[in-house]
């Protein structure tokens, strides 16, 4: 799986979790907070994305990520490990 594909999954889930955001308009260099997501929204987006990617990343490893791009890197690391 490519990083672009991982980013697409995250973008799709951000859009699905919000009334007024379109996946195409999301910039991976920004954080979910920049798109108005609160901490509950972020848990939802992260969980649905991990479910779709069939990975399980400990929440404690996600706490100091700054943007969507870094989240995608972290997810990709686990996708490549084949971690279930």
């Amino acid at each position: 799986m490519t990083k672009e594909a991982v980013i697409e999954v995250i973008k799709k889930n951000i859009a699905a979790n919000s009334d007024d955001i379109d996946a195409a308009g999301i910039d991976p260099q920004k954080s979910m907070k920049d798109y108005g997501a609160n901490s509950l929204d972020m848990i939802e987006v992260v969980s649905t994305s991990m479910r779709e990617l069939k990975i399980k990343v400990p929440r404690s490893e996600l706490t100091d990520l700054n943007n969507i791009d870094q989240l995608a890197d972290k997810f990709l690391e686990y996708v490549n490990k084949g971690n279930g």
């Binding site: 509950l40 848990i43 400990p58």
Partner: protein, 419 residues
């Protein structure tokens, strides 16, 4: 996952993919049964065998035996749960009224005691009226869920207690979190709320960090945007302010606050919650606040005890003064040990040990083995890089208990962190 067990936490099993709702997630079971997790979980839910005094007794999960301990975990900040006058008042009410209220407040659960206590609480907080709840959590959930509707906006400090978040979720209002204690971030959020009904919530003392709301700055922003305000004084009522009315009194801003919440489980030493505000909104809330309307009224003997607790704590400043003296003494001792106490400005004193969950649990066992009952607070309750112990100072601590505790903390935590 087994070897990584400690990097997982309860935050990782919230969503459950198992087809049967009554079966937890498959990986939850293996995580939960991992020896290291079992050992960590063993610290929680240990049984107290006596009143939550500064010296008490626990059935320890270390060895399954009774141990006398110095208790720095209970919220019995002013020692009121065992104050002789409080106990006496509760006993008398127990004889007169029995154990339970046996009814919801609107039908048959309202006793003269409830009416009188609510009146005194409103008077104490200098508000027109008060609504009493059977739990603190229920009070926050009930007030927020009763005040806000879909289409409204609930703006909260990101460190606000779960009960406020749950109230927001239940209300259907949109929730926006501002960065902790940051007036500029609050302003950004309120800028997005123009034309909407908005309620802003914050706490007097934050429960995990012990820092105070930056009330003057926050209230100024709220006033500029004409946003209604809600303060949770769970950890500050009876302790802060010249008359013990809380952090809002401490800053001289209590009349500007729209609604003031307090709990009866901490400084009051009992159980229950209350909100104080203008009489019209309290009357309205009675119709729409489910934890009030659809739940049995608080137990009469507990209410009688709390009413006495209010009297004892406010007739003079003896208990508060004793508390602040102990806070100063312990804080100095901990700072001399070069421990990281975060931004604590209150009787809630965190000892932040950092990102290692393993060290946290190891220290906790060692401390408790030495006779200090001090519980760890782990991620996700606090940030993963700021796991901690949290001291709840009590006016009841003796000099000797504090000195013993400081020695144990030095030997285990201070030396352990340097090792």
């Amino acid at each position: 996952m087994a070897d990584k067990a400690l990097s997982f936490s309860l935050a990782d099993f919230f969503f459950n993919d198992s087809p049967d709702v009554l079966t937890p997630p498959s990986d939850f079971q293996s995580w939960f049964e991992h020896p290291k997790i079992r050992s960590a979980m063993g610290l929680f839910g240990q049984q107290l065998l006596a009143a939550p005094r500064a010296g008490t007794e626990v059935l320890s999960s270390l060895d399954g035996k009774r141990h006398k301990v110095i208790n720095m975990t209970s919220y019995n900040y002013l020692g009121l749960s065992t104050h002789p006058e409080v106990i006496q008042a509760a006993k008398e009410a127990l004889d007169l009224y029995g154990l339970g209220a046996s009814g919801a407040p609107l039908l048959s659960g309202t006793f003269d005691l409830h009416v009188e206590f609510a009146r005194r609480l409103a008077q104490f907080k200098e508000k027109e009226d008060c609504l009493l709840f059977s739990s603190g959590l229920g009070g926050n959930v009930g007030a927020i869920q009763g005040l806000l509707r879909k289409g409204d906006i609930f703006v909260l400090d990101e460190k606000c207690h779960k009960s406020l978040i749950d109230g927001g979720t239940l209300s259907g209002a949109k929730m926006l979190f501002f960065s902790h204690n940051d007036p500029a971030s609050l302003e950004q959020m309120l800028e997005k709320c123009k034309g909407k009904r908005v309620l802003v919530a914050f706490e007097g003392v934050y429960s995990m960090d012990g820092d105070l709301a930056r009330l003057p700055e926050i209230m100024k922003v709220c006033a500029h945007y004409k946003a209604a305000t809600y303060i949770d004084e769970a950890h500050s009522t009876l302790m802060f302010g010249r008359n013990g009315r809380g952090v809002a009194e401490h800053f001289g801003l209590e009349h500007e606050i729209g609604m003031s919440f307090g709990t009866l489980s901490k400084s009051f030493g009992g159980v229950g919650g209350f909100v104080c505000s203008n009489a019209r909104i309290i009357a309205y809330l009675k119709g729409y606040s489910s934890p009030w309307n659809f739940s049995c009224a608080p137990s009469p003997p507990v209410v009688a005890g709390m009413m006495k607790a209010l009297e004892v704590a406010t007739r003079d400043s003896t208990l508060r003064d004793a508390l602040w003296k102990n806070v100063a003494y312990l804080k100095k001792g901990l700072l001399d040990l070069k421990l990281d106490l975060g931004r604590s400005e209150s009787q809630v004193i965190p000892i932040i040990i950092g990102s290692s969950g393993e060290k946290l649990i190891q220290f906790a066992y060692e401390i408790q083995r030495r006779g200090l009952f001090l519980q760890p607070v782990d991620f996700p309750a606090v940030p993963a890089d700021a796991r901690r112990f949290r001291i709840s100072v009590s006016s009841q601590f003796t000099q000797e208990q504090m000195d013993t505790a400081l020695t144990i903390i030095e030997d285990v935590i201070a030396k352990g962190l340097r090792a």
